[in-house]
Amino acid sequence: MAVLTWVIYDIAENKPRTKVAKECKKAGLIRVQKSVFLGKLEWNRFDELGEKCRSLINEETDSLYLFPFSQEDFRRVQVLGQGFDKKLVNDEVLAQFF
């Protein structure tokens, strides 16, 4: 089963920060703000990403959250300004053209 996931972090050092961002991208999440990723993950990938990030950050100084998010709440999300594509993050785009 897949779950919509928010990943939000605050990481002091540049290097681990970039690595965490790469891991999120690799997992198929979409960058919605500088330190915020959003996307759909399989549950086991959710755990996997959490473990990977744990090994990258400094638990003394940094913080990172993985929020599972329900579809019901996602429907009520308001996007203002330069926001993300709701369909894209929710895996509802069936064909991407380039």
Binding site: K26, G28, L29, R45, L94, A95, Q96, F97, F98
Partner: protein, 337 residues
């Protein structure tokens, strides 16, 4: 999702285990976990690393020609399943089993056609007269199918004949319900003579690649067909097995036009032919994907149309594997109307 590359000069590479698509003014990074297939319909460059990444994640890379027909695909170097299936398939091509399968496929196709026309008829009260004759023609041809117990050499011709007769009636009828300016005379391919045929051909093209994938996944050899046999280097089985599923493309094309979703600016007219251009392709591909993604009733369950194709290919493989004295499993049950 399906990744469709259609801007000329696109470069597809791999960066940090993600696909990176680059063009003069655009860039897109995409995780392989989100991609199901990559369809390349233009001049593009793809790096070997990107190909390897696709192979590792079971993503197939398909190359299309200008008409939207798949020319080739990159796929791992093994067939999906046991070689025994392929051996049985070759045997079936020479004994009665192959012909039985062909008859089943064509019967399903004709039934689809008449059911679809009836469905369109019910949605158009007062215009029933338009439909009665073609439906009758198709039903008559379907009956003739049962009589096709002739020597194997002539059955092929016989089946092709009645298929053609019912197809002509079917498409003439479909043409009459199109908006006036999109009505057409007959089916045409390479090049299509009118917008409807252009859109339909493109939908068939998408379907071909789905059917071929289903064949490979279930261990069937796409090159060994039953009705379309002996063609030099042709994917004969794909041409056979697509018959019962053509309805998916036809429904999609018909609804696109009757729903007035198609516009003149989606088509390019050139030397006697009509083709979809880069404005039109996304509309058609999106609609076709949406159509395949819809769930319909299939063997008592709700199954996506896309998956029905795979189920039936697997059933065909199992049917070939079954021993002769065993009861062969039934197959082909597409009833969505």
């Amino acid at each position: 999702m399906q990744l469709v590359v259609q801007k000329p000069g696109t470069l597809i590479t791999q960066k940090d285990e993600c696909f990176r698509l680059k063009n003069r003014d655009d860039r897109l990074d995409l995780s392989p976990l989100k991609v199901e297939s990559i369809v390349i319909s233009n001049q593009a460059m793809i790096s070997s690393q990107a190909v390897v990444l696709a192979l590792e994640h079971n993503i197939d890379v398909i190359f299309l020609d200008g008409f939207g027909d798949p020319l080739g695909r990159i796929w791992f170097s093994k067939m999906g399943s046991t070689t025994l299936i392929r051996r049985k398939q070759l045997e079936a091509a020479n004994n009665g089993v192959g012909l039985t399968l062909v008859r089943d496929m064509i019967r399903q196709k004709l039934e689809n056609q008449s059911r679809f026309l009836k469905k369109l008829m019910h949605a158009r009260p007062g215009r029933e007269d338009l439909f009665r004759r073609p439906v009758k023609t198709i039903e008559q041809e379907t009956e003739k199918l049962a009589l096709a117990d002739q020597p194997p050499e002539t059955v092929g011709g016989h089946i092709r004949g009645l298929e053609g007769a019912s197809g002509a009636a079917y498409f003439q009828c479909v043409s009459k319900i199109m908006p006036k300016k999109y009505q057409f005379e007959k089916r045409s391919r390479r090049p299509a003579g009118d917008p409807f045929n252009a859109a339909l051909n493109y939908c068939y093209g998408i379907l071909y690649s789905q059917v071929e994938k289903a064949c490979i996944l279930s261990g069937l050899d796409p090159y060994v067909g039953f009705l379309h046999t002996d063609d030099y280097n042709k994917k004969s089985l794909v041409f056979d097995l697509i018959e019962p599923f053509r309805i998916f493309a036809e429904q999609n094309a018909v609804y696109l036009f009757t729903g007035r979703k198609m516009k003149d600016e989606y088509f390019d007219m050139s030397d006697g032919g009509v083709s979809l251009n880069k404005n039109g392709k996304p509309v058609v591909v999106d609609a076709m994907n949406g159509h395949l993604e819809e769930s319909v009733r299939y063997r008592g369950r709700n199954v996506k149309r896309r998956h029905i194709i795979r189920h039936e290919a697997h059933r065909m493989a199992n049917l070939l594997l079954a021993d002769e004295d065993e009861d062969r499993p039934d197959w082909l049950e597409i009833q969505e109307f």
